[in-house]
Amino acid sequence: MATRSPTPFHNYWGAFAGVANLPNVNGSATQNAALEAGDIAYDSVTSALQVCTDPTLNNAAWAPV
């Protein structure tokens, strides 16, 4: 377990019901310019952790871990 954080910021965006609702995905209710490639989120529908590969607003891409 990490005993020291490498940066003040973590990359976890929380759980979302379906890939379509992940942050910055086209049509998703969550649109946030702070999203970065490498950020992660959990899709509770498929029970899959997802990593953001493209954070573009309204056009983000996520890949399952």
Partner: protein
Amino acid sequence: MATKSPTQHHSYWGSFAGPGNLPNEAGAPVQDPALQEGDIAYESNMGVLYVCTDATLGAAMWAALTTGNSGPIWKWNETDLTQFGADLHTPVAGTITPSIDSSNAEGNRLILTMAAFEGLSVFPVIDVVSFPRRFVWFLRIFTLPAQNNMDGVLFAFAHNNGADAVYRGLHYYRSSSGGANYQARAYRGGAEEAGSPTGDSANIVSTEPGGWVEGIIEREPDPVDVSDGELDCSVVVRSFAAGGNSHDGSILNLDSIVWNADWTGETLNRIGYGFFANTAQNSVLSIASMAVFRHPMDL
């Protein structure tokens, strides 16, 4: 969203360009004794999330958690010429004119028409790409050059150095002897790469539906195999016919090229389709698809 953290710490180290730059890797600029097994980081070139499996300073190991950009690094859109830029290299004489043939039910083809062409020409891809250490290219050729010995084709990986870019790539061409024999060579800046073998390939069909050519390129030494002092870079080319003669479906035994062509540190950020002709040529080449992929064993 999490409403309570199990610890006050998180394990994410951020984004790094290239797996060799992940924290505590040998040679990586970030060396930090705080790194622990289980920490994660993102590699932005290929879009891969990594987990640290060995945090040793200067010798850390990271394992990929995702497949990253499993799609092509670059692929012709098979629609138009918008992905290609102006000719990077002024030929000795003549012209090569690209166009689109949309008369085929199975899809469009890129037509490259040579008129009294002599010298070297490369049509660069506009997209600037970042090549991984090991990658694969595919090319489906239909109409092959009609002339022998001088009519070459080249899938090039080029620096973007302006009018006379420096090329690294593969030379795939028709030889002068033995009828429609084709050969593959490594190619470097206007001449064959030193050490490129010279054996002939088997025949390849020169009429429809053409054939596939593919190459596997390892352009930098394997990071886990540098201790022997050998570069161990390699290019392997193979092809198969897709119909029209007795070689249907066969592997055509194009030369497997293995040579020490270390491209480490070179900014290979352009690709294109090129030609090389020693004397003036009038010919036509048609291509159905072109693509470059990350090799699944890229490390």
